[in-house]
């Protein structure tokens, strides 16, 4: 009897743990189902809805938009352009954020707190406001071109209403996210390991290349994923700084949904954005596994 009771104990305990886990997971599962799965399912339904050329939904079904997206080279170009632009923005953001994050990680005391607040403070402002700030800086009569003119430049440089403007704007806007992710990843960076490498005669660049960078790779991967996903779904900055010349998936979704009223096409493109997110996540997981 005592042996049976002993065997029953762990089984009951396992059941209890499973029940507790299920209860704890239930709220997030419900939120996810209502806030994410349901809208995505709705998007899928809209993407196969029939639409007249005027924009009126007929209530019927059609895969015309999926066929259009699959066969029209414009949409393939759009996808390639979006992924390429987001990748470049991610790399630029990483390059400018990494030294700042490393510097912050190595700081102590009040200065660290002050600088951290400065890094995070742009997040308190809407990206619309920050983008308008960039318009003031990058326009033909803006800060940069005025300074260049003072130095003798004859013609203003076209720094916005093109891809250059979009990249500058997005890089700055996404920097706080990258810095925060890098700081989280720098947790594994033990200064004693760097000291050990230096003591063994490694010059600073080799310490960085062989010790600091490998140990910070999880943070780099996380920051890159976050920045890439945010860049690919960015809509306001490309719209304001692109001048109608930069076609990205997010701006196209807006145009189709809000201007031309082609909801099925907008839904189809939105699902493609989700697929790209999924692929980015898969790549991130694979990289983490390789690092780890």
């Amino acid at each position: 009897m005592s042996a049976a009771a002993t065997a029953q104990g762990p089984a009951q305990s396992r059941r209890g743990t499973t029940f507790t886990a299920a209860t704890l997971l239930l709220p997030i599962l419900l939120i996810n189902a209502i806030g994410f799965m349901l809208p995505v399912a709705n998007l899928a339904v809209i993407s196969v809805s029939e639409i007249r050329s005027s924009g009126a939904m007929t209530g019927g079904w059609s895969i015309a938009k999926w066929t259009t997206v699959a066969t029209d080279p414009f949409y393939w170009e759009l996808l390639a352009n979006t992924v390429r632009t987001s990748l470049i923005v991610t790399i630029l953001t990483l390059v400018v954020s990494y030294p700042i994050a490393l510097c912050l990680h190595r700081m102590n005391g009040a200065w660290k707190s002050i600088l951290l607040v400065l890094v995070i403070s742009p997040l308190l402002l809407s990206s619309v406001v920050r983008t308008y700030g960039w318009i003031a800086i990058l326009s033909d009569r803006g800060l940069v071109n005025s300074a260049l003119a003072a130095l003798g430049a004859q013609e203003p440089f076209r720094l916005m209403f093109n891809l250059t403007g979009v990249m500058i704007g997005l890089t700055e806007i996404l920097m706080p996210y990258m810095i925060l992710a890098l700081l989280a990843g720098f947790g594994r960076l033990d200064p004693r390991v760097e000291e050990a490498a230096a003591t063994l005669g490694a010059p600073p660049y080799r310490v960085f290349w062989r010790v600091v960078l490998p140990l910070s790779l999880p943070g780099v991967a996380l920051g890159s994923l976050l920045t890439f996903v945010l860049a690919i779904s960015s809509f306001i900055t490309p719209k304001l700084l692109g001048g109608g010349r930069v076609f990205l998936l997010a701006t196209e979704v807006y145009d189709q949904a809000i201007v031309t009223l082609d909801w099925p096409l907008a839904a189809t493109l939105s699902i493609i954005v989700l697929v790209v997110f999924g692929l980015a996540l898969a790549v991130y997981t694979r990289i983490l596994r390789q690092i780890g």
């Binding site: 009126a56 010349r245 076609f247």
Partner: protein
Amino acid sequence: MKRRTFVAATTSLIVAPWINRASAQQPVTINVMAYTGLFQDRYTAAVVEPFMRANPGIRVNYSPLPNSAAMIGQLRAQRAAPQVDVVILDVTVAKVGTDEGIFSRLDAAAIPEINELYPNARFPNVGGVAVTFDNLVMIYNTDAVKPPPTSLLDMATPGMRGRVAIPGLPDIQGMSLVMILDKLNGGPGVEGRFAKGIEAMAPIAPNVQTWEPRPDVYAPIINGQAAIGIGWNARAQVNADTSNGKLAALIPKEGTVFQINVINQVQGAPQAQAAQRFISYALSAPAQKAFTESMFYAPTNAKAQIAPSAIDRTAVKFLDRVVPVDWIAVAGVRDQIMDQWRRRVIPLSR
């Protein structure tokens, strides 16, 4: 019957007519959905408030949205239980709403003002009727462009390189520009998918600074970021006044096209009768006069007697320059025009 029950029943019989009258006098609230910003400010002052003063039993709640597509989006979402009674939006989107059964057909028997409208204010396949006419104009910064432009091709001169602001396709301002150029170059219009108009954009496109002027096309021209562009007359006229003449507007010699806003009653509107009363007022000559004199939209009511100072700033005196456009037919080929725009116009401006 107990004494108390008898007293209560008698009292309620005596008081009932007053209670009914009081509930009948409870103000009815109608929701009117239309454009936000300048349109909301001027329309509220010129039409909504005078209507409420004339109809104390009806309160109007103005629901502003930035554009027609956003309005139809909200109406689609409310289809099972409409919350909006009256909607003012672009005619192409009104056609979509009519096709989807969102708008009911306005009846001249219930709204006699419909009989006073110009013939081109009524459409066979749209439930509502036109409430405002606007038209495309050239706009320019008076300090930067001297002498004033006269032709759309003034946007193609070398001096305007990087100084032109055009709301490009799919915005209907860009579409209007293409249609005017198509007509100018002998294009057949919808049948030819405005190919001649697209072709005629070639000298203008390299000068374009932005195809997406924000927050609208008027602000960058007023502040000097751009020098010249195209816009809608009504907003251009108001901006000309508020900028103290920094911005000016004119109808180019190549012509203009009308943009039409339609007033619609939502199918199953919660307050159908009050909604009809509002539509009736909005289409009436006094309301049309007030709004034209406030914001320079051309009136759709033929009986509206507009002050010369206002009518001169609409397209009414330039009807010979108006290029006729069937917006509903244009909406049907918009994808094909858009495709050509992306392939043949945008690359020229990079």
